[in-house]
Symmetry: C2
Subunit: 402 residues, 2 copies
Amino acid sequence: MNIRENRTWNHHVVKEGNKSLVLKKIINHSPISRAAVAQEVGLNKGTVSSLVNDLLEDHLIYESGPGKSSGGRRPVMLLFNEKAGYSVGIDIGVNYLLGVLTDLNGNICNEKEVIFKNLTYEEIELQLFNTIDYLIASAPESPHGIIGIGVGVPGIVDNNGEILLAPNLKWKNLNLKLVLENKYHLPVIIENEANAGAYGEKKFGAGKDCEHIIYVSAGIGIGVGLILNGSLYKGSNGFSGELGHMTIQVNGPTCRCGNKGCWELYASEQALLTAAEKMKLPSLAGKELELSDLLALAEQGDPKVISLFEQAGDYLGVGINNIINSFNPQQVIIGNRMASSYKWLNKTLTDRVSNQALWFQQNDLTICFSELSTFSSALGVSAFSIENFLNVSMQQKVSLNV
Amino acid sequence: MNIRENRTWNHHVVKEGNKSLVLKKIINHSPISRAAVAQEVGLNKGTVSSLVNDLLEDHLIYESGPGKSSGGRRPVMLLFNEKAGYSVGIDIGVNYLLGVLTDLNGNICNEKEVIFKNLTYEEIELQLFNTIDYLIASAPESPHGIIGIGVGVPGIVDNNGEILLAPNLKWKNLNLKLVLENKYHLPVIIENEANAGAYGEKKFGAGKDCEHIIYVSAGIGIGVGLILNGSLYKGSNGFSGELGHMTIQVNGPTCRCGNKGCWELYASEQALLTAAEKMKLPSLAGKELELSDLLALAEQGDPKVISLFEQAGDYLGVGINNIINSFNPQQVIIGNRMASSYKWLNKTLTDRVSNQALWFQQNDLTICFSELSTFSSALGVSAFSIENFLNVSMQQKVSLNV
DNA sequence: AAACTTTGTTTAGCCACTAGACTAACAAAA
DNA sequence: TTTTGTTAGTCTAGTGGCTAAACAAAGTTT
């Protein structure tokens, strides 16, 4: 009785709901027969037949040849038509732009990455347009064509999709949603990169079967995406998950946000780089330090660098422990650039958590690193578009009597 | 499309949903006419009439005399029958047991408090039974009688209502729900005290109009109740909100939970008392220190004690700041025993938050102290029972053909 | 070939909704 | 007082999506 709050209930709602149930069943259990859908969803065979016909007309599913008989007439198998449309997902990072074209099941059909440094907004916008144009042009023919564009950005996005602040890109109060809608006349979704990553992992990655997932996006800074009760929790204005600025050391060093002892001063990529610079590693003198350099050194067995990673893993654990106490999640997923160093972070991180987390919090809890690696965010925003498209598709078509 | 997930949709669901909408409208806008309900909810007049008749039959609402005409026939005003049933809410504390009898609107009709110290489970159980017996006996005649019993406990309660651990009561793996159900044959709800308090404030207190509320129960320890998207968030197993054991000082003092630098070591009643004991206040030598003593000293202007409170307020602010960054709530409510000291805590707390919280988090955010004072939890569990009762009442009555 | 099984469609009936006609009850103007 | 207009609430016919059950189609088993 939640959610719909103010919407009244009528026949349309019933049909919409059941159609959605049937489609979900087919998506998650294909190939499946009408009879099996009826049985498992709990609807009447006739009802399922009728809904399936609607879905067939919409090209959202298709019939394959007959399946195996189990002692009677052979069933007609139904499959989700994942090629009924394509979705564009873009992940804008501080120094890269990654675009993917996916089908309705999140399979990547095409991708394009651009690396840059210190571009102005206008320059990034141009790259964005180029990438989107390229991906759209590359989409195969399909009944529904491009069903939407999603963009993940490293910044604060409010509930209307306006980017209030993206400090590392130096963006402020930017309505990218409007820009893209006006240019492409497609549904556009703008989402914070951590939220997108969380949803990506939930839909296609490590979190597929979980209802309560916390995705820790550890890059230059730290952002967190929250999947609670199976859906993204955004808070009152859309600003939830700013856990990079959670205090873990009351009188710690000062953060650029003005506070002291923020988590991301200890456990982010930036924290690692800053600490490494202080060590004045001889092999990297003069050069601008990058994470990959540190990884290389760790691989070579440099004990100083390895202990840097271990320290960061430990601090990651501290924050994750706080997260566990807050949310009692089933799964914590560490993603973004720091996930690439999981080999060096993992031990101290899990040690910290298993020694420190309250015992009852540790049941049914898994902590892991991103499965989708660098694609989490792009796939996540793509998934938002797909979800949106499918929801709209479930609604009754009001004939316009043309 | 969330929530119901696996339940199929049919006309029963439609009726249930609409009946619920109508009832909610009447509860929140009474007195109101059928016509106005139809208009505002968006249902047809006839439909509303029919649903209202159902509700009248159930005695959940009643008709009062005619209202004022607005130029035509005078409307029949409908009111929520808050006396249609009564709910029992119990708050078990470390050294007290508070019971209330409320009507369906959460108005307290009777209350009983027992103060104790160091009782065994069996002794507390006896007090509990006595209190419940007394409250039930005192309930006026009503169509539905006692509709349920709710109990809030200072401990970890899993999703089945089993108390896994209540350290301050020395309870472990206790199925109080079963005990009470067997004795009273009524619906029983067991809930963590902070969760209950959060719900109490949401329903009847400071949080009435908010969807995202964080209730900080600062007593001997600190627990947190989370109202997200208008309903209680319990996490994967029911253990969310254990924020008393959030690390705010990585290498701080050791907590009884085994970790270091937990929030409740700095901002709870216990923290205050421990700090005061160290000061060896001459006026209280020998006596076991209590919060009320410190409050009295503060009232007398004792600068040392006042600065103790200010310090605690500041630390409360640190944790609340972390909470704001996590959840982006509309409202943070501080409750339980520490709320009584709001006069001395408030300034340093709000200073800490307004200086430290990220600017965009501060819009539409209010921080306040409990409105229901010591009743938050008892009213909260009572509200759970009421909510449950009303939900069940909305469902179709399947005639048993007696 | 006959009997049995299983799949998927069709039909009849049900139920809660909507639209709109209708009755009831009032206020204001004639 | 009567008439007119307005609002409240009920009633009736029609609609749409559901269920149950009969039916047709297409298998397997005996």
